[in-house]
Symmetry: C2
């Protein structure tokens, strides 16, 4: 995408000021920098996180990082991978601890490409983002802090935000103007406080945790697994790390203790002694301690994520909770991603400004779920360990579901990241959406497995141009564009061919959602451009329920779909998860008719927005026009064009 | 492994002098540098290959590179991946070319982890090795050349080789002493010439090829596939490359032409004009030409790979052939690997010097096969295109095999690298091997699918310590050690438990092959050492036919196997390729009894050496002692110890 940096009135005008270079700030910055925005990004630390802090990347986050082309940079650090969680409890008779069960951290009923949690310390993670930012000309300004800001759309409708920045030692100051300000400063957010936004504490119980990263020598057999250990001497969590390290979380105090004080602390030696007692009869000695910290944790959620849709908050500034489920960084990533593409859609002229109003409800709802889950999860563990049969039942997706199995399954979906979903709004179609058509395929009344607001389903397909077997859901990089997956059914069927031809014809009409946002530089685009040959806002994939050798792009794929040569696929790969008897497994997994297909709109962040049948005539594109018309900046569709 | 560099009499004494920093020299150097050898490595080019030259990495080579931890560095360059080969021929009627068939480059009957050919230019490949070498303190000395050498074991039994080196412009000279000299200088090897070793030309037909790398604009639909194009205007091969590039091979002359001359050449413009004619009715225009070269190719094979087992040759210095099958670099890698671990085994004191005598026969035989194959392959293509049914029959592994299908399957196995095998010798057990025992499991008369001299079979297993799902064949890095895969059957069976206990007991006896080569620094080895806690020459893996939660290392794995904590596995993963009904798929794929298991010795380069039943008593270790005794430096086994 062409750079936007040359369009500002002065050097001190920015598209956005981002405060805080932790996971949320870096994800936001990385997305917007790639899409050409001018960014002022500050952090009050002199360096990226040197040790410790967050470290858990969930399965779905790994998908996201891969979609950004960053996964291999993370994996180069050889992070630990958690496939199972072990439970250790006091034995029925006698002293010490015994393993009472294990469960998969991402059981097979979840269709995950990477069914494990990846553990890597936050510093490595930050540096991967920072390196990517630098490729796009953004450098974090350190150690700088925010001293104040105002936001006034009336005084300056284009750059309503004024931000005062200062070197942490007060030796330098700067005032900048921006379209947006983002507070990703963590739990003690200055911006949140200035806005006067309160925090609601969900669970009256607070905890003090000690956390220690280090290298140990131990005969405890599960030291390379994630463990939840309850013993008569207290509770501990074991998290394996890269480089033979291990992280131990030890609960130091709970507000349920008679003598609770949130400032209660413990020395490293005390925590080590505590760990030794908890692990008995196993021994543990430290070869090296890399990081040690004590911190109080309460469950809190910010009342608002924004007041004026110009100054936004995200990450720990909005929600705090226990580290047990390893959700902090993952939730931060998704806050940032959600905001990033919406700012882009508005600023690039594609969406109406009101699209930004979906950020808070979508992400606050997820945070509410996370907090509720955090409670439930803690209780699930503390009540009793799961039995092997229960775990097996949950994994096997059987119908013998007791409350425990149900909660377990929900927990796994949630912690893996695949359970995150967004409720109905202009983006996530529901029966109350303005788009109405008999062609729409709602999950409730059709066979489709694609649910608006939920993630697109994983599927393997064969790319036609080079016969590469690829992951369909990864084929479009995180480019800020909506993803149109056109499941075209069987090219040999006359009706399917006609439907595809009509789709292409109506897409090409000047007032279609697609043509209305044609690139201005359409005539100078390289013929190597794979993803955005016609529009910055759409990437189109066409998937045929046919074998690759039977697909001929020149014959079977009409313009403009054919312009996306690298995005034409054969749905001819076997899939263990497809329904028995399915011939076109991707079609079948999506719940789309293998002969007739359907069109799936996926939001730039990977969540399904809209699913519509592919039929002859203008109906499919009419329905798409109506869907996009709910939030697009232009009037779409035939009728209005005629008026 | 401890460095060997401090053991030499002077700074100008080396373990090995390597001439040529192409794929063969770099692979040899990288292995030996990692294992602690002192290396003088020169190349007469000032820089690594800037453009062009070899580019095809076969599926099996990718396994090897992964085993070396180098795969991700290659993949970071986003190489092209060839999954299918397309055939284009003149139509039955009319002009131009039509696609007459496609076939998979690595069909599903081959159990490949990466069923595609990876295309990346040699410069990137060289740089990955060079970066690894530099981590181990080896820098290629450039641009230097070899001016002469002598080898005299009588005069200096330890450093028999004297090498005269010179800067290419003659401004500097150096004379060094070495234990070995390796010539990896390509087809016009100075060392080969000096040794007076001749080249045998297998096929009297010679060719002149033009090869061009560049970026093109074309409507030819298979430009991202590997294509074999025959037209009335000549023949061409299309190879996709990284960065939107394509490589075109165009045959300029053949010795069957009436006016053939091996020095016949063509300009880039002539070759481009020729490509345009061949591709008609499709158009092709060059946006950029990165590399262009014309070279004559004859099929040749060196008479000897060494005369005295001190001065060795490998790679193109030993074998030249057409680029059609993309085998050059892959064969070079395997030459180097074969020599590297044997030099290490001898120099580190594990094997008798005669082990080096297996290098030439093993690798020369592969080169002979390659040349024979190269001919057959060319004829296979030129005779007729394969029919869809024939390809399907070959892929489905059916019994309806005609000659074409048979050749096709052999070709695929060979080109993928999985078909390379070594004949019977001291390393690759056969009925004429000195080791004789009723416990030996020969492929001819037992159920085992493991064949001495062939690659170990791929299998997924679950690592017990951290529940990670892993590729068993990749679990031991290329560390120069023999790999003992102890398939231990069912730990719940008393006989299996007893057999494992007896194996461990007899391994621990001082005269066993295992204990005889205990590390000298055994008492100072870190408890984090995963692969070589006891011996530099062995890494032991124990695989149980049981579910992971049912395996308790402290209970089920006797010492010394338990010292390899990270190498204990549960054979509990489903495998599509396992025989129907198999419960322990890895055991079953290997053809080993699921209850009783068996012990597999895999050479350091990944080829099976020996397969023996796991039974109570000393028989299993006796057989292993006899196997290793055939090439080990020490006397092994109970009987001899008593004498």
């Amino acid at each position: 995408m062409a750079t936007h940096t040359d369009r500002h009135p002065s050097a001190s005008h920015y598209d956005i000021v981002i405060v805080g270079a932790g996971p949320v700030g870096l994800m936001l910055s990385t997305c917007l920098a790639r899409w050409g925005y001018k960014i002022k990004h500050i952090d009050n630390r002199a360096e990226p996180t040197p040790t410790g802090r967050a470290d858990g990347i969930q399965p779905r986050s790994l998908d996201l990082l891969r979609n950004m082309g960053l996964k291999s940079a993370f994996m180069a650090h050889k992070p630990a991978r958690v496939y199972e969680v072990a439970f250790w409890d006091p034995p029925k008779a006698g002293k010490g601890i015994v393993r009472t069960g294990t469960w998969p951290s991402c059981p097979s009923f979840i269709d995950a490409r990477y069914p494990f949690t990846t553990l890597l310390h936050q510093g490595h993670i930050e540096r991967v983002f920072i390196a990517d930012l630098e490729k796009n000309g953004v450098r974090i300004q350190r150690p700088w802090t925010i001293r104040g800001f105002t936001s006034n759309e009336k005084a300056d409708p284009e750059y309503p935000v004024t931000v005062n920045l200062e070197h942490v030692d007060g030796t330098a100051k700067e005032t900048v103007k921006a379209k947006y300000l983002f507070g990703g400063e963590g739990a003690r957010s200055f911006i949140r406080e200035q806005l006067g936004i309160g925090i609601k504490h969900k669970d009256p119980i607070a905890y003090v945790w000690g956390v220690m990263d280090g290298v140990v020598k131990t005969d405890f057999p599960d030291i390379k697994m994630k463990c939840n250990i309850h013993s008569e001497h207290g509770s501990m969590m074991v998290i394996p790390r890269e480089n033979n390290m291990v992280r131990l979380y030890i609960q130091i105090a709970s507000s349920t203790d008679p003598d609770f004080h949130p400032r209660k602390t413990a020395t490293a030696e005390e925590v080590q002694a505590s760990a030794k007692r908890i692990l008995q009869p196993y021994s543990i000695e430290w070869e090296r301690v890399e990081w040690y910290s004590v911190y109080p944790i309460g469950q809190g959620i910010s009342d608002k994520y924004t007041l004026d849709h110009r100054v936004f908050l995200g990450g720990d500034a909005c929600h705090t909770h226990s580290p047990k489920a390893g959700q902090g960084m993952n939730t931060a990533f998704l806050d940032a991603l959600n905001l990033a593409w919406k700012i882009h859609a508005v600023e690039a002229g594609f969406a109406r400004r009101s699209l930004l109003e979906t950020y808070e409800p979508e992400r606050k709802d997820v945070a509410e779920t996370l907090l509720a889950f955090d409670n439930k999860y803690a209780k699930l563990f503390s009540q009793r360990p799961p039995s092997g049969n229960e775990v097996a039942a949950a994994s096997a997706n059987t119908h013998t579901e007791n409350e425990f199995v149900k909660t377990f399954k929900e927990s796994c979906e949630f912690t893996s990241g695949y359970g995150v979903f967004y409720k109905a709004n202009a983006l996530n179609w529901s029966p109350s959406h303005p788009a109405q058509s008999h062609l729409i395929l709602p999950p409730e009344t059709s066979h489709t497995k694609l649910v608006p607001g939920r993630l697109f389903i994983n599927a393997d397909v064969t790319r036609v141009v080079d016969a590469n077997v690829v992951h369909l859901e990864q084929e479009i990089p995180l480019n800020g564009a909506f993803r149109l997956f056109i499941f075209a059914g069987q090219p040999s069927l006359a009706t399917s061919r006609a439907a595809l031809r009509d789709l292409a014809f109506h897409l090409s009409k000047p007032q279609s959602f697609y043509s209305a946002y044609t690139r201005r530089d359409i005539h100078s685009v390289s013929h190597h451009e794979r993803h955005n040959p016609h529009s910055h806002f759409f990437t189109l994939c066409t998937i045929f329920a046919a074998r690759r050798p039977d697909i001929e792009i020149a014959r079977d794929v009409p313009f403009p779909l054919a312009a996306y040569r690298d995005h034409v696929y054969a749905d001819d790969r076997w899939d263990r998860r497809a329904p028995p008897g399915a011939k076109a497994c991707a079609h079948a997994k999506m719940g789309l008719d293998e002969e007739r297909g359907g069109v799936v709109v996926v939001r730039p962040d990977g969540y399904v927005g809209f699913v519509v049948a592919l039929e002859e005539g203008s109906g499919t594109v009419d329905a798409l026009n109506a869907y996009f018309g709910a939030f697009c900046s232009k009037r779409l569709g035939e009728t209005r064009a005629v008026l």
